[in-house]
Amino acid sequence: MESTVLKIEEFYAYFGDHCVLNNVSLSIPRNKVTAVMGPSGCGKTTLIRCINRMHELIPGTRVSGKIFLLDEDVYATNPIIVRRKIGMVFQRPNPFPTMSIYDNVIAGYKLNGIRLAKSESGRIVEESLRKSALWYEVKDVLHRKGTFLSGGQQQRLCLARALAMNPEIILLDEPTSALDPKSTSHIEELITQLENDVTIIIVTHNTAQAARISDFTAFMYLGEMIEFGPTERMFTVPQDKRTEEYLTGKFG
């Protein structure tokens, strides 16, 4: 029986007067990989940025509706606390250039002034790097700065950094679009392994990727949630005509 970790109810988001999310409702199942896909401009990135309240950092934006993380109203809680429970990996890898790999992984703790015992932080670093399949490549150079790593490795470092906070959900915003095919398949492997520990929501414009790695798929178009369901069913017997047209490449 699947339980719901995130409930989005009648959610609207605006850039000034322009409505980018139009009455979106969605229930994200726990410990599964959910892909959000759609053509450019459909609002998928805006949606996940509303989940961890990054959208409101842009001036002139407005939202209405509710988002519940387990039973907490995300918009009634301090955004900082929300963001500590929801991790995010961005399109372009962005490790902190002034910190070592070790410090990058526990950056979430360090920057928040949370003191960890050395044994504790060492454990978290190793565990997170193992989960993101980077441990063996960097375990001897943990105290070097992370900028010498390749793109794929940097992205896995960012994943480790997000995982170290032990979040409920990890949001991935087109995490492999800036990477080469080999690194892409590494990351895709990781994602499927991680779902036992954490719920994953991945935004992707690559339908093949969504088909490969997700359990559930949501299809968005022009700010609206068109269809949501198990990936296998969506890709074989889509309910909505627009879903079918997108999947067969008629647009997007």
């Binding site: 990054m54 950092l57 928040n112 906070m165």
Partner: protein, 281 residues
């Protein structure tokens, strides 16, 4: 038409030659100045010069120790005043790129940069020397601090503007509050540029004399009290160079040497800071 082309080619060659000539000529004053300062200055520098206080005319062995210490005290005071405000204003402008008030603030910073240093001296005199009824190191430090502000603010803003937004976003997405994001992620990433700005502004005010004429005023004694007048290298140079005494004039050459080494040295260090500390994205 062959002669036409020949004429044009000749013009081209002559032009290039003139450009090179004028460029080289521009460097000559520099060589002359440095030559004289080194030649006359080094002969004045000895242990007495560095350690002693100025002596009355006729006595040998006078030094500029009070001016050297004074210069450093003034640098410290002006930095204490200008660095916190300058950094904060620079961060403010970088974080608020649009808007009416940031626009006005930027305008004020640019205006401040263009104000002649002696006018700033008048202001410091009015606001600090008059109420205190005495010239002081403090008033000199304030005047110099005001002059440091535009450079610090401008370099801080420019440096921070170059830092990609993704860095801020990475930190904010981890749930780090805004002020910690700025202080512990953005600022460290821009540290080399910011430090360079501070060093350059110090280099600029080290040699400033005009604002000190009626604020710090100068002194013949060693003074560590910031509420009293204080000596400084540029003031010593100004006073001794325009004096008729040969001993004082040699002291001025020595002081000039020290001052030039200090000012140019700071510039050099600033350049090295950029090279070694610059963070790559």
């Amino acid at each position: 038409m062959k002669s036409g082309i020949g004429f044009r080619v000749a013009k081209d060659v002559i032009f290039r030659g003139m450009i090179i000539l004028f460029s080289i000529l521009s460097g000559i004053p520099l060589i002359v100045i440095l030559y004289f300062i080194v030649k006359n200055g080094i002969s004045s520098i000895n242990w007495d010069f560095i350690v002693n206080l100025p002596k009355p005319v006729g006595e040998i062995g006078g030094g500029v120790s009070n001016a050297i210490i004074g210069t450093f005290i003034l640098i410290i005071i002006s930095s204490i005043i200008s660095v916190p405000i300058g950094l904060s204003a620079g961060i403010y402008l970088s974080e608020n790129r649009r808007g009416k008030i940031p626009y006005v603030v930027r305008l004020c910073v640019e205006t401040l940069q263009g104000i002649p240093s002696i006018v700033i001296g008048i202001i410091a005199y009015t606001w600090i020397v008059i109420p205190m009824k005495s010239p002081s190191a403090l008033s000199g430090g304030v005047a110099l601090g005001i002059m440091m502000l535009p450079v610090i603010i401008r370099t801080t803003e420019e440096t921070l503007n170059l830092i990609p937004i993704s860095l801020r976003e990475a930190s904010l997405a981890l749930g780090v509050p805004y002020f910690r994001t700025i202080l512990r992620v953005v600022l460290p990433a821009g540290l080399s540029g910011i430090v360079t700005g501070i060093l350059l502004s110090i280099a600029r005010i080290t040699g400033e004399t005009a604002p000190l004429l009626f604020t710090a005023f100068g002194s013949n004694f060693m003074n560590l009290n910031v509420f009293k007048p204080i000596a400084s290298l540029p003031l010593v140079i100004f006073n001794y160079a325009t004096s008729p005494y040969n001993e004082w004039i040699s002291l001025a050459w020595g002081a000039s040497f020290v001052l030039v080494v200090l000012a140019l040295g700071l510039n050099l260090i600033a350049k090295l800071v950029v090279r070694k500390w610059k963070v790559q994205f």
